[in-house]
């Protein structure tokens, strides 16, 4: 078998050295009655060609965004990743390396994570960032739990503009970790008043900017109110490229910024693996979850990097750890940092401007259709339309025409009547004028 180097000759010699007659004797501590005597009921081994054929057949049953005009967002975005990124992350020294517990021989990983931490801090305009979490949703849930620890309070207020998945993950933790998450109703018009809900029991307020329905808001006043009440402001960002064009949460006074980093370097991949970003202020440093890379010197006085402040983590603090996270999202963080390095300041700014411009053009084109209203006044690359009829069947009809025309809000809000006619659309640098025209024409026909 191509992945197993041992030959039968090897095995015999090894058993002889060990001093047992067979492999089965090495399993002697396993109770006889639970030892399987033959292979389980699954197919036997296959060569590469057969495996490729089987998996390709499954892939062929899907309509990928590479083959159809796509306007999908709702927390994951279709962007072009430069060819160099995928080549670099597949270098064996990155792909097949491990968590850098032995820094002398993992300076590559440590240096890129240090750069990643710096980039995230710069993008969000915060003091310090960690070396990644699983995704934006879990990162945000960890931020809420951190706010509870810092304020010693247990009530989180969640904006109605927070991605439903993020809200649901927080709710799961709230139930089991024993805190309260007050979830506001969905807010497609962007009109909620969170300030009025803050009181002395509030540990944090969680908003998303741009919001789930696309709204851009200035949360500076909210931040000030939170701080006066002794609460923290958490801002989640699902489209990280927005920070190339929009005022960063740090500037608005956020205490913790969480984000989904998928848009940079990482393919859509049907939902994962993605990469969660987590940034905060210096004063909260020791309450942060996740790995942290710090700079130091070696025995020869040369600059190097190490994992640091490990006493917060599970392998040392065990039940008193700030989080149970161990494996995070290293390779996805690498893809993120390489893509951002290639973009640089000028590239990211221009990319963000292109995204916004495409979305503005898309919005103008579609709101020209009869009965179609734009519910988002200020947005980055994603906005919400109110259609004259339910959006889910419209999206299905668009799919029949080979167009992936946005996400119906009812997919994430199945019980809310106010969501039924709402369609959430994103436009990125990958959308051509022809794509936009195709969508407009198809939509016009379907809405007749």
């Amino acid at each position: 078998m191509r992945y197993l180097p041992l030959t039968d000759t090897d095995r015999r010699a090894m058993l002889a050295r060990i001093g047992v007659p067979s492999i089965d004797s090495l399993y002697r501590d396993v109770p006889e009655k639970v030892r399987l005597s033959k292979p389980v009921d699954l197919p036997l081994h296959m060569g590469e060609l057969e495996v490729e054929r089987a998996i390709s057949a499954l892939a062929a049953k899907n309509l990928g965004t590479g083959r159809a005009p796509s306007f999908l967002g709702a927390g994951a975005y279709c962007h072009h990743v430069p060819a160099a990124v995928d080549h670099l992350i597949q270098r064996g020294e990155f792909l097949t390396s491990y968590t850098p517990y032995q820094p002398e021989v993992t300076q590559g990983t440590l240096e890129y994570l240090f750069e990643f931490q710096t980039q995230v801090a710069l993008l969000t305009e915060m003091d310090v960032a960690n070396a990644s979490m699983y995704d934006g949703a879990t990162s945000t849930a960890e931020a809420v739990m951190m706010a509870n620890r810092v304020t010693r309070r247990g009530k989180a207020i969640l904006s109605g503009n927070l991605h439903p998945h993020y809200r649901e993950v927080i709710a799961t933790h709230a139930h089991f970790a024993g805190f309260t998450a007050v979830a506001n109703n969905l807010d497609p018009e962007g009109r909620e008043d969170l300030i009025a809900q803050i009181d002395g029991a509030t540990s944090c307020v969680v908003v998303q900017n741009p919001g789930f329905f696309g709204h851009l808001r200035d949360h500076t006043a909210l931040a000030e109110t939170c701080h006066k009440a002794g609460a923290l402001l958490i801002v989640a960002v699902t489209e990280i490229i927005s920070l190339g064009a929009v005022t960063p949460p740090g500037r608005m006074g956020a205490d913790i910024v969480t984000a989904e980093g998928q848009s940079l370097g990482n393919s859509l991949g049907f939902g994962g693996p993605y990469v969660g970003l987590f940034a905060t202020r210096e004063k909260f440093l020791r309450q942060m979850p996740g790995r942290l890379v710090g700079e130091t010197v070696d025995a020869d006085g040369r600059r190097g990097w190490v994992l640091t402040l490990s006493t917060r983590e599970q392998h040392i603090r065990r039940e008193k750890a700030t989080s149970n996270i161990c494996t995070n999202s290293g390779l996805c963080a690498l893809a993120f940092t390489i893509h951002l390095t290639l973009l640089g300041e000028a590239g990211l700014t221009r990319l963000a401007a292109i995204n916004h411009g495409k979305a503005v053009q898309l919005a103008e084109k579609l709101t020209a259709l009869p009965g179609v209203k734009l519910t988002t006044d200020a947005f980055f690359n994603e906005f919400t339309l109110a259609l004259p009829k339910p959006a889910a069947p419209v999206v299905d009809a668009l799919a029949d025409r080979g167009i992936l025309g946005g996400v119906p809000a009812s997919r994430l809000y199945p019980h809310e009547a106010t969501a039924a006619n709402l369609l959430i659309l994103a436009a990125t640098e990958t959308n051509t004028d022809a794509d936009v025209d195709a969508l407009a024409a198809a939509l016009q026909e379907i809405l007749k």
Binding site: R286, S310, T311, I316, R317, K320
Partner: protein, 125 residues
């Protein structure tokens, strides 16, 4: 040093009237290795004999520091925030953690004196 008492968890307390200064012993700092961070309670916090009072961290470990006796925190050693290494260099003096006002001085009777503590440490081997 007759006004200094010790616990089995290697905390010391130096008594002056009804206040006590608390730290960890030289043996403890040696076991810990280089101290990198100390987490101290807020002034005013009530502490209970034998319960968590502070945390002392080295690179590879975090150890709870327990209150030798009950009381309330009247002062904390800010110097340790900037210079945690003081715990290593002067564990019995400048490396003190907190001062407390004792709420139940009779608890001191259960603690070891210096001679008893020395013997206890020798027995740990």
């Amino acid at each position: 040093m007759s006004n200094v008492k010790f616990t089995e968890d290697h905390e010391w307390i130096r008594i002056e009237g009804d206040t006590g200064t608390i730290g960890i012993t030289d043996y403890a700092q040696e076991q810990l290795g280089d101290v990198v961070y100390v987490e101290l309670p807020d002034v005013g916090r009530k502490v209970e004999k034998g319960k968590d009072m502070a945390v002392v961290e080295s690179v590879k470990a975090a150890s709870e520091v327990y209150a030798p006796v009950s009381g309330s925190v009247t002062a904390i050693n800010d110097k340790l925030t900037a210079e945690p290494a003081t715990v290593n260099s002067a564990a019995m003096g400048d490396g003190w953690f907190v001062k407390i006002k004792l709420s139940n001085p009779s608890e001191l009777d259960k603690l070891m004196d210096e001679v008893a503590y020395k013997k206890y440490v020798e027995g740990l081997g």
